[in-house]
Subunit: 325 residues, 2 copies
């Protein structure tokens, strides 16, 4: 196979290095004899485009490459799990398999999830708001044990959140497309039943992919269904929430707090009123990535996909273009 | 026994109510036949002082009562664990046993501990500082697994922190007066060896009582021994830390962050520069109390002490006045 690893350096992560490739490739005995090239410019891509069979790149980079200029291309391994920025996939030839790296983000996301849940339980976003104006108000809350967590999306992010929540005795309701049981959820409901569970939700956790179906899933009307002591966490995508409506609810104390890691626009513009929203903790899209292991874990997923491809079976992290994840 | 429950209402908690007393007393079959009185004024105390044998009150209230006016007083049950505010105990008759409620605070303290550890690992105090001025900086950190936590004090607070930290794969070094092993610590050292472990400490957690020996234990010199990526958490007492030195270290980025729940002066005065300190999360002394269970759990501890007293054995939470806890 000719495998080309391409990245226009842009993000907070270093690109995959030849050393990382060789280190992970050496873990998998059968993966030898491939032609492996690396590129960071349009010219480097053009030089290999007529030979490349598998491309490894971020959605950001994929949007800038002419993928139709690669006639032998069989599969693309995305170096992120969310591929929503590829839109309707019209820039990808229809026969090319799109693979993501879902699973990489679980351990870090689980830590962020329970951190955010405990912060909301202890009212840390509220105290941070008071701290800005040197105000001391001793508001006591109890333990998180027994509280009701609702998780939208039970992929690796939502599953990791459920696992950690159960360590602290929360009652977990999961929602997903199917209502198939999940080992770390007390109950799983189909997403159509979301409105039923919101009024008894103490903490709402969004961890689903952004698709046409999930865009704006936490609408203004649904925010209004949450109890006033509720807290909201979003580590999925900013587009899952009606962001102005959430800010309104926070400023009006219609809900108690929120911890958000993803936003309608990233970076958040300095003039965006979200920066001044009450009882809101903002983190800059850092909930789910571990830079120390990210590239190696992505390559480990890639090699599992490659083995499946070579054996003629379905790659484990194949993206369903119809679903969008 | 004549048991008098007295409180000058001041704090964030409701006083112990007769209902709470009767509910918990009913759990313990042998505890019947006591004379139980309640008071909230000096006059109500004076009316029972010559009869009272056991007094249940907070250290705040104890400082305002003439305890030498109660000739039959055998024991005092403090409704807090820390009794440092009673100073050298000279306001307490020497023969009266002082009992605290240590153990009440563990579950909530464990939740606060792991929340604060995960916040420091993910750099939440830093992001909160940036949020105040609408700044987005995507600084990625990895999982907390494998990091080195040093805990000063292995009572119910420190023990609960160690328990939760081990759930997340931290390596835990505990320090206490003795070097007796602890079930949730990888290693326990005598407090005299603190300086040795600071340079390899990722997170320093203070959870010991405030005594003459522990006052200022995190001195300016010891803060300087911490690595620049280190984070500090204090849920013990403000007097454990040289607070101006800690603020200096935070502002100079000599350490990465801190989450503090207790302070040199509480409430923190509005003019105190600590409010403006960088990379610092302030919570208003709320780390360890669960209002829903606090009074009942305190009474449960009291009844264990009472059983021991009546059996002529040492009450489980007897305060050693020489140690101060």
């Amino acid at each position: 196979m000719h495998i080309h690893i391409h990245e226009f350096t842009t993000g907070p992560f270093p690109d995959i290095t030849p050393d990382e490739w060789h280190e992970v490739a050496a873990e998998v005995a059968e993966n030898t004899g491939h032609v492996v090239t690396f590129g960071a410019s349009v010219e480097e891509y053009q030089a290999v485009a007529d030979q490349v069979e598998i491309l490894i790149a971020s959605p950001y980079t994929l949007r800038k490459l002419d993928l139709f200029a690669a006639p032998r291309l069989l599969a693309i391994q995305s170096t992120s799990a969310g591929v929503d920025s590829l839109g309707d996939f019209s820039t990808l030839p229809a026969h090319v398999m799109l693979l993501n790296n879902r699973g990489v983000h679980g351990p870090r996301a689980g830590e962020y999830a329970i951190m955010a849940l405990l912060m909301l339980q202890a009212r840390l976003p509220y105290f941070a708001t008071l701290q800005r104006t040197a105000q001391w108000h001793r508001l006591q809350t109890g333990v998180i044990t027994g509280k009701h967590l609702t998780i939208i999306g039970l992929g690796s992010l939502g599953g990791a959140a459920a696992f950690r929540a159960r360590q602290f005795g929360l009652r977990v309701t999961g929602l997903r497309t199917s209502a198939a049981p999940h080992e770390h959820c007390d109950i799983v409901l189909p997403i159509e039943r979301l409105d039923e569970v919101l009024p008894t939700t103490d903490f709402l956790f969004l961890a689903c992919p952004l698709t046409a179906q999930t865009r704006n899933i936490l609408s203004r009307a649904r925010i209004a269904l949450l109890p006033s002591h509720a807290g909201v966490i979003n580590i999925g995508r900013g587009g899952l929430i009606d962001q102005p409506a959430l800010c309104d609810a926070l400023n009006a104390e219609a809900i108690a707090g929120a911890v958000l890691d993803v936003f309608a626009q990233e970076p958040i513009p300095p003039s965006d009123p979200i920066w001044q929203t009450k009882n809101l903790t903002i983190t800059p899209h850092i909930s789910s990535d571990d830079p120390a292991s990210y590239n190696r874990d992505t390559l480990r997923i890639f090699f599992k996909n490659l083995s499946a491809l070579q054996a003629g079976s379905t790659p484990p992290t194949l993206v369903d273009r119809t679903r969008g994840y």
